[in-house]
């Protein structure tokens, strides 16, 4: 039967498995598409087309009028200042929490003694607090803080401080545990206090890594502080939100260009600083 052998040879040996997987994917995907209200036809709805068409049409040329550029520049500086002040506060928050969390500075872990259970309980509590701080997205913090402090950059700065404080605290403690912890341990065993053991035993070895990670987070904070303006927390985002609500395409495209340049700048600064540190 020469014909059937060639047919067999041409058949995809994996066909059945492929078909099963494809079928399973479709069956799984269908309800998801329904829940996400996946209706591509909406994009071509006449009214939507008119709104977005008119809006995008205004993108060229970008609004380069002097007064608006001045406003945008002010907002840009404000964004950078928000990120910097936010990260500075985050460090103030993260340093004690990171120290409390780090096992390499635990005196009670050296041997059986009083206070071990208390220390562990304190550590668990700190871990939980940090989880809540960084688990809630920064823009949710911003939304809440805008309600408490009013519109403006203060809410944005505090939102960054809280979220990034949580992230930095966790990573600080991990960095302190991952390096060479023997000097600190020796200091602790010979009776030094925890802070002195940190300054003389741990910090010299891990300062670079700590600083480098903080700078990286500053870069992320710049990006985040642009976004947070959308809930009224100041900076470029707030300006973009206003222009978008007025459907002023020219202004939005200017802000987008500035935003892209700002992210590039933050990226360049951060990688330059981290290269010097390394």
């Amino acid at each position: 039967m020469p014909r059937s052998t060639t047919q067999q040879a041409l058949r995809d040996p994996d066909a059945r498995a492929r078909a099963t997987w494809a079928l399973a994917a479709v069956v799984l995907l269908w309800p998801l598409l329904l829940v996400a209200q996946f209706r591509p036809a909406d994009l071509f709805d006449a009214r939507n087309l008119k709104v977005i068409g008119g809006f995008l049409g205004q993108f060229f040329p970008p609004n380069l009028n002097g007064e608006f550029l001045g406003l945008a520049l002010k907002a840009t500086v404000e964004t950078l200042a928000m990120a910097t002040a936010g990260i500075a506060l985050a460090m103030v928050l993260a340093a004690p929490l990171g120290l409390a969390l780090s096992h390499s500075l635990s005196i009670s872990r050296i041997g059986p003694g009083p206070g071990r259970a208390l220390g562990e309980a304190l550590r668990a509590l700190t871990r939980l607090a940090l989880l809540a701080l960084r688990g809630i997205p920064e823009i949710v913090w911003a939304l809440l803080l805008v309600r408490a402090f009013g519109l403006g950059p203060a809410a944005g700065v505090l939102a960054i401080a809280v979220t990034y404080g949580g992230m930095l605290g966790k990573v600080y403690s991990e960095i302190l545990e991952s390096g060479d912890t023997r000097p600190a341990r020796v200091l602790l065993e010979s009776g030094s206090g925890r802070l002195m053991a940190f300054f003389y035993g741990l910090l010299p070895g891990s300062a670079q890594e700590l600083a480098s990670y903080t700078v990286y987070r500053w870069e992320c904070a710049v990006r985040a502080s642009v976004i947070m303006g959308f809930v009224g927390a100041g900076g470029l985002g707030q300006l973009m939100d206003q222009s978008m609500k007025m459907l002023n395409g020219g202004e939005v495209s200017t802000i987008l260009i500035i935003f892209l340049l700002l992210v590039l700048l933050a990226d360049a600064i951060s990688s330059a600083v981290r290269r010097t540190l390394a």
């Binding site: 998801l32 209200q37 996946f38 977005i52 949710v140 010299p204 935003f259």
Partner: protein
């Protein structure tokens, strides 16, 4: 044993002119930031403002745990998951399509053009895409899905293009030289080699997109974020508290699952 001299102590701490200069610059920048924003931190820590903050926090408790509202939260969570899943899937498909020219298979011109497009898609944040998509597709989860898809296809397209460039070319060449069409050679010889990598990248982005999808609703793009924004606008703090708790729970669960999967993979990898 004599006490260490001053010079020795300085050496131990690694002090140097350069570090002092850098520190001074840093302090100046931080101080300038606070001054520019005219942030008065001392004002935040007065008794009056502390009382105000406590009042503000107290309004959020106890959270609304009535069955009806919990059902709405479950619905919102499901919507958030659906937005992130569909958005990531669309992005994976678009990313693969864009990765083909971006990996240089169709010539240097296409490569440069698609690379630029991918960079642009990636640089515009999800929330900005969402605000634009709300204009293009109307309020609701579809706008959020499109926003995630646009941003993520920029990210995945670049990663996929790198995988394609690094894939060994021999199997595909063997098929082409024995007469297979280039498209078939790609599907049967190149794609299977990089599929695990593509899946891993997509799952990783899905994890990030779940987090992102919870907040896209702030500009009207559906999910838990839209619920939170709505409840807070109506000053329904107890309801807002439940939604925030649901967001936190979602993030923590996704984090735990991803850590668990990663640990499993590491063990498998040896």
């Amino acid at each position: 044993m004599s006490a260490p001299t001053l010079a020795e102590r300085r050496g131990a701490l690694g002090f140097c002119v350069y570090c002092w200069g850098a520190m001074a610059c840093l302090m100046a920048v931080v101080w300038a930031s606070f001054a520019y924003l005219s942030l008065d931190l001392a004002r935040l820590f007065t008794r009056e403002s502390a009382g105000y903050m406590l009042d503000f926090i107290a309004r959020f408790f106890p959270p609304d745990l009535s069955a009806g509202f919990l059902r709405r939260i479950a619905q919102g969570t499901l919507e958030t998951l659906a937005i992130s899943a569909v958005g990531t899937l669309l992005a994976a498909l678009a990313g693969l399509l864009l990765a083909l020219p971006a990996s240089g298979r169709l010539g240097p011109v296409f490569k440069a053009v698609t690379r630029f497009l991918l960079n642009f898609l990636r640089s515009v944040p999800e929330l900005v895409w969402a605000a634009l998509m709300v204009l293009a597709a109307g309020l609701g989860p579809f706008a959020g899905t499109l926003a995630l898809a646009l941003h993520t296809s920029g990210v995945l397209g670049r990663l996929f293009a790198e995988s394609l460039e690094n894939a060994p070319p021999e199997p595909a060449r063997a098929l082409v030289e024995s007469g297979a069409a280039p498209a078939l050679a790609f599907v049967y010889a190149t794609l299977p080699l990089i599929t695990p990598q593509l899946v891993a990248y997509s799952l990783y982005r899905w994890e990030m997109n779940i987090r992102m999808a919870t907040v896209l609703g702030f500009v009207g793009a559906g999910g838990l974020g839209q619920m939170l924004y709505y409840e807070l606008s109506l000053l329904h703090e107890p309801q807002a508290c439940s939604v925030i708790a649901a967001m936190l729970a979602l993030v923590v669960v996704v984090d735990a699952i991803s850590a668990w999967v990663r640990r499993g993979q590491m063990r498998q990898g040896g």
